[in-house]
């Protein structure tokens, strides 16, 4: 009998421990972000009747659709252990170029839209080239394009809002399709939200269902494993930055549609918002993990927080302070959860411990 108890005890304990870790992991990971979002919604709901109304919900969703689109591309980049600081500038350039081509140069609508997309493609390809061929670190390369692309947008628009009435053709503001998608609603759902959802779905699909997605996780999680497995690291990274650039272009055009105008300084600071959304959503900055689902929760947390605070009449300056601190707090919580999970299950990072367990 004594043998049976000694046999059983560790197994039972092991089972309990594993169960606890699993619950903690789920609650602290994406589940944790969902819990924080629900708490925020509940808190603001109790605090003010103006928060959880159909109008205000639409308002938050519409307002955060553009950063959400940027965050989708950012997620793929960060999963592959990169970072794209240039997304907001790229959005501004794409929107501006499209606007200028349509309103000032009199280009036909499809061509103007195509030019906007091409600008996003070009910036993404340039980032990819500088990072993979010139071997400039991702952070520095995209910091450079962050500034340079903003400059190009200023050059293209002469620093003036588009359309500029002195130069715009008769009745030419922004392309009709872009204005519709950016500002109109169907059955009460703003189309810009549908566009953001479609982008999120696309990003989720790329990450979880394509070779490129697998490559992103492998490169971010264990670059050497990716290399010896024959994954073309440089080529994959190049295309990941192109996708990020293209999504930034879509975001910029949607923003132009929503504002019915473009300017070179729009989307200012949104690159940080997109990075914050990714991190708050549970994707670690060192790559290899996370996903678009978490990022969407992350952007909602950021949006709900800002919206709720301003409904409550918290001064804008204080909102910034609270916003920043919440981001740090959420990530600190996530780090704590991660350490707990690693202690519990013998995580793979930073160094694989020798584990004598026979079978799970």
């Amino acid at each position: 009998m004594a043998e049976i108890t000694t046999e059983r005890r560790p197994r039972l304990l092991d089972g309990v421990r594993r169960g606890a870790v699993r619950v903690a992991t789920a609650a602290g990971g994406r589940g944790g972000a969902v819990a924080i979002l629900l708490l925020l919604v509940l808190g603001f709901f109790i605090a003010t009747p103006d928060f959880l109304t159909a109008d205000n919900t639409r308002n938050v969703l519409r307002q955060y659709s553009v950063p959400a689109i940027l965050a989708v591309g950012q997620t793929i980049v960060i999963v592959s252990a990169g970072i794209d600081l240039s997304v907001a500038s790229t959005a501004a350039l794409s929107g501006s170029l499209m606007g200028v081509a349509f309103a000032h140069w009199g280009w036909p609508e499809p061509l103007a839209v195509l030019l906007g997309l091409a600008a996003g493609f070009a910036v993404g390809a340039f980032n990819g080239f500088v990072i993979t061929r010139l071997k400039v670190p991702d952070f520095i390369a995209t910091l450079g394009t962050l500034a340079a692309v903003r400059g190009v947008a200023l050059l293209v628009t002469d620093g003036l809002p588009v359309p500029d009435y002195g130069r715009a053709g008769e009745g030419r503001r922004v392309p009709e399709s872009v204005a519709t998608l950016g500002a109109d609603s169907v059955l009460g759902i703003p189309l810009i939200v549908a566009v953001a959802a479609a982008c999120a779905l696309l990003g989720w699909f790329v990450l979880s269902r394509t070779k490129l997605g697998r490559a992103a996780y492998a490169i971010g999680g264990n670059r050497e494993a990716a290399r010896v497995s024959g994954i073309r690291i440089e080529r994959s990274k190049f295309w990941i930055y192109v996708i990020s650039g293209l999504l930034a272009a879509v975001a910029g055009m949607m923003l132009t549609g929503r504002l019915a105008s473009a300017n070179a300084l729009m989307a200012d600071g949104m690159e940080l918002q997109s990075i914050a959304a990714v991190v708050v959503g549970g994707t670690a900055l060192f790559g290899g993990e996370g996903g678009v689902g978490g990022t969407m929760i992350g952007i909602l947390i950021i949006g709900v927080l800002a919206n709720g605070l301003s409904i409550l009449g918290v001064a804008e300056f204080w909102q910034r302070v609270v916003n920043g601190l919440i981001i740090v707090a959420v990530v600190a919580l996530d780090q704590w959860r991660r350490r707990a999970a690693t202690r519990g299950s013998g995580g793979l990072r930073p160094s694989p411990p020798v584990d004598e367990r026979q079978d799970a």
């Binding site: 494993a225 990716a226 290399r227 497995s229 290899g288 995580g347 793979l348 079978d359 799970a360």
Partner: protein, 254 residues
């Protein structure tokens, strides 16, 4: 004895002036387990990295099936039918075992979707389950991320990946280092089965009893050159260790 399947001669490699390999030789034949042993710093890992395409040699010759070949990268090795179980396992932590088994050679959907890189996850999952079953690896939760598996399970994933894809030679760098008693026995069985199917197995191990048990032949590396070769059946552990530590002089072919 048959012609060597893979034969390296006079391989040299220096790192910042330190000569890790000083004209090393090595050979492995089909259907045998050849152990590559040596003290720390003897050059075992460097030699394996060169033969599996992760490191370029400074000099020397590699012959594969009688032809001189270059192995400039791991993919080239793979195309020759060479697989490697790396000491650090080379797994992607946030992907599941099936994704790791197919890492870098994912199955894609037929037609246009496949051209765009759309994965056929169901087929990969099916083939992974079959591979694990064939190799006697019991993984209850094949959907879990590798990061959440035990050290032994991770090693099982790495070993079964190599065993699944190998067609000619498999290098196993310390394949039982992180394993408990039962799983080590499993991997040893697996190595024998792979060998019995006609594949050449190169075993790198510090565990001398394991080497004596598994190996058909033993090649000893010391200070970057091969100092001895033995038929495992005709030698003793003491002899092998003597060669490793330099108690023996010139190359001795048993």
């Amino acid at each position: 004895m048959s012609e060597p399947l893979l034969e390296a001669s006079g391989i040299t490699k220096s790192f910042a002036g330190v000569r890790a390999l000083r004209g090393a030789d090595f050979a492995v034949h089909p259907g045998e387990v050849a152990a590559l042993v040596g003290d720390n710093g003897a050059g075992k890992s460097t030699l394996v990295k060169i033969l599996s395409g992760t490191l370029a040699p400074d000099g020397g010759e590699i012959r594969f099936e009688g032809r001189q070949v270059a192995v400039p990268n791991p993919v080239a090795a793979r195309e020759l039918g060479i697989e490697t179980v790396y000491q650090d396992l080379a797994l992607a932590p946030e992907l599941d075992p099936a994704a790791n088994l197919f890492l870098g050679r994912e199955l894609v959907r037929p037609g246009l979707l496949g051209k765009l890189g759309f994965l056929d996850k169901a087929a990969m999952r099916r083939r992974t389950n079959k591979a694990f079953a064939d190799l006697g690896i019991g993984l209850q939760d094949t959907g879990a991320m590798v990061a959440n598996l035990s050290g032994g399970q991770r090693q099982s994933v790495a070993v079964s990946r190599a065993a699944t894809w190998v067609s000619k030679v498999v290098f196993m760098d310390e394949p039982t280092a992180a394993l408990g008693v039962v799983q080590s026995a499993h991997v040893r069985d697996l190595i024998r089965r792979v060998r019995d199917s006609g594949i050449a197995v190169v075993l790198i191990s510090h565990n001398m009893p394991e080497v004596m048990e598994l190996a058909d032949r033993i090649e000893v590396l010391r200070l970057g050159v091969r100092v001895a070769r033995y038929q495992a059946a005709d030698t003793t552990m003491e002899q092998v260790i003597a060669a490793m530590t330099g108690a023996l002089g010139d190359e001795e072919v048993a």
